[in-house]
């Protein structure tokens, strides 16, 4: 039976210990990033830093450059100006794989889940665990091993599912989001980028996902959340970055600002920030 042998990088070692180092240590930082599409300048001189244990909320109106920035940081887009840096030095990312090799994973807005596959199959897609005996040669997977590890990863984030063996299509929207986050956390040992994690969810489910974001960061990962859902994400964020017309309009700790400040920065009243307080 012919099988393409595209063994993907093994990812993190078998025991995925989520807390790898002291909180606050930088994971990846952007320095003066700029990106243009033809004559359209999507990003200009953007700098930010993701640190372990911290949630960075990235706000901005449509077209402010949030998506482009995320794509730069997860390797989908290569910036024209500036550079990315890890504690080990400057780096260039050319693909999602490159970012994943640094331990940075992405939860896409569409979640990138295969609805017909089970939770565990989704969590291990592309990184399946093979049986240890002779069946390994036939490409037989070890569902039990994968189920154990998926269960462990889910419970670490306090996510409860009826079973990891049910198809993703049978889950609620919040549960799907949780599975996508858990998968990202499982294969990350540094940071997670989340694109609009609450956009498709109702009130209750959004709250649950916010708790999940918090607990992910508390386990020692750096988290960046792109969102339009300002009040909710502001509650879980440690740092807030607001983009406007491709540049950083505001970058402050969340404890120092209000929802109003964020909105003002988004629409261009950032010169008043502080005056209202």
């Amino acid at each position: 039976m012919s099988q393409p042998s595209d063994d993907t990088p093994d990812g993190p070692p078998d025991e995925h210990v989520l807390v790898r180092s002291a909180p606050g240590e930088p994971v990846i930082s952007a320095h003066g990033i700029g990106k243009s599409y033809g004559h359209v300048r999507a990003l200009h001189d953007v700098s930010l830093e993701l640190r372990r244990g911290e949630v960075v909320a990235l706000f901005g109106d449509n077209g402010a450059g949030k998506s482009t920035l995320t794509k730069c940081m997860c390797g989908v887009v290569t910036p024209d100006e500036g550079h990315l840096e890890t504690p080990a030095g400057p780096i260039e990312l050319h693909s999602i794989r490159d970012a994943e090799a640094l331990g940075i994973t992405t939860v896409h807005q569409d979640l990138a889940l295969a609805p017909d596959l089970s939770v565990l199959e989704n969590m291990f897609l592309g990184r399946e665990v093979l049986a240890t005996d002779w069946r390994r040669l036939l490409g037989v997977v070890s569902r039990r091993e994968m189920a154990d590890r998926a269960d462990a990863a889910l419970s670490e984030l306090r996510i409860n599912l009826p079973s990891v063996r049910i198809p993703v299509s049978d889950l609620s929207g919040g549960q799907k989001q949780a599975v996508a986050v858990a998968r990202a956390a499982m294969w990350s040992n540094a940071g997670i980028l989340m694109d609009e994690p609450t956009a498709a969810l109702g009130t209750t489910q959004s709250d649950i996902v916010c708790e999940l974001i918090r607990s992910t960061a508390d386990r020692g990962l750096a988290v960046m959340v792109i969102s339009h859902d300002i009040p909710r994400i502001l509650d879980v964020a440690d740092q807030v970055v607001v983009l406007r017309h491709g540049t950083v309009a505001m970058a402050r700790p969340s404890s120092e600002i209000s929802r109003r400040d964020v909105v003002d920065a988004m629409v261009g009243y950032h010169e008043h920030v502080g005056g209202h307080r």
Binding site: Q3, A114, D116, L125, V140, R143, D148, S163, D170, I208
Partner: protein, 354 residues
């Protein structure tokens, strides 16, 4: 849809699962195939009983009658198993019948050329010629789909014509003769412990494919490709390599069916395989395999293939005239699928979601 859901991850009353806990009931049903498959099996059994009651002296319910069913089902089952691989990956192959035909032509020519060096040798090399021809057509399909970016529907429609054309050119439009008749007795119509050998082979292939989808990385990845191509890509799967492999595998299965056809009839059948591909797709889809990828029911493939064969043979056995058979087949098809739709609200829901 999701915003209407009231249960949430944290509110879910069930306890967190652990790997050792038995899977939930729906998961067990999925393991069997699908509820659709079960219902088509029920229809199969009901039809067998009905035809048994209506046939003279219950001749439809005899061992020899089941042997006939098995022999008739063998080629169809192989093609249906093959198409399930591609349907699972979200692709389709209309060239199966043409692949079967061209394989039987090349395999037949090899057998004729080697007939002097012993039937067994000729047959074995002929088998590999059939498998190779089928796989080559699959390779072309796979390359056209992945590299030239032609949708599989169009690509395989095109290769269907090309393969049929080559088969006709290679034979000057006449079926091969001179294939040793002993091949028929030794293989094509041979019984092994009372079961036709081709049926054995088809069942073995069915079982292997079932395991492939159930337990292997390749099978899971094919389903992932069919379920969400973009997600599979972002998970780092080599999409093109997997699709080409799947097309080749399916092509080789058509080649196997071609070899069985060749040994069953000791000739080719140039004008007789036009509907084979569509019949295979129909059998798979009736049994619950999705036309849009991601969902495959091997149980349903078996049940759907048997449904077609039972109808085809049973209606002749009970002596229904050929024109009424057409109507009866149509009625039973609608009834069988409708029964499944009523019984399993899930089936309807899934279709709406699609």
């Amino acid at each position: 849809m999701s915003s209407a859901d009231s249960t949430t991850a944290a509110e879910q009353p069930t306890t967190s699962s652990s790997g050792s806990a038995p899977p939930a009931l729906p998961a067990r049903l999925r393991a069997l195939g699908s509820t659709t498959a079960l219902w088509i099996f029920v229809v199969d059994i009901l039809l067998v009983l009905l035809f048994g009651a209506l046939s003279e002296n219950g001749s439809f319910l005899t061992a020899s009658s089941f042997r006939v069913l098995g022999l008739d089902a063998a080629e169809a089952l192989i093609l249906a198993v093959g198409i399930s691989l591609l349907l699972g990956a979200g692709e389709i192959d209309l060239s199966l019948g043409a692949g079967l035909l061209l394989s039987s032509v090349f395999g037949g020519k090899v057998i004729i050329a080697l007939a002097g060096s012993g039937t067994a040798v000729a047959a074995i090399i002929g088998l590999f010629a059939c498998l190779g021809t089928g796989a080559a057509i699959g390779l072309v399909n796979g390359l056209v789909v992945t590299k030239l970016r032609v949708t599989s529907l169009i690509a395989t429609l095109a290769t269907m014509g090309i393969a049929t054309g080559i088969a006709n050119i290679a034979t000057s439009g006449t079926d091969l003769s001179d294939i040793p008749a002993s091949l028929q007795d030794d293989f094509g119509i041979r019984n092994l412990i009372g079961i036709p050998l081709p049926a054995f082979i088809a069942l073995a292939l069915w079982l292997v494919t079932w395991i492939l989808f159930r337990s292997t990385r390749f099978g899971l990845r094919l389903l992932a490709l069919g379920s969400n191509r973009g997600a599979a890509e972002r998970s780092g799967l080599k999409v093109d390599a997997h699709l080409i492999a799947a097309f080749m595998l399916v092509g080789a299965m058509a080649g196997l069916a071609g070899f069985i056809d060749l040994t069953r009839f000791a000739t080719t059948n140039l004008a007789g395989h036009q509907n084979d591909g569509l019949a295979a797709i129909t059998a798979a889809v009736i049994g619950g395999t999705s036309l849009y990828g991601g969902r495959v029911s091997l149980g349903g493939v078996l049940a759907g293939t048997l449904l077609a064969v039972i109808l085809q043979d049973g209606l002749v056995v009970i002596g229904l005239s050929a024109f009424y058979q057409l109507i009866a087949v149509g009625v039973v098809l609608i009834a069988a699928v409708n029964l499944d739709q009523r019984r399993t609200p899930g089936g309807l829901r899934l279709r709406l979601r699609r």
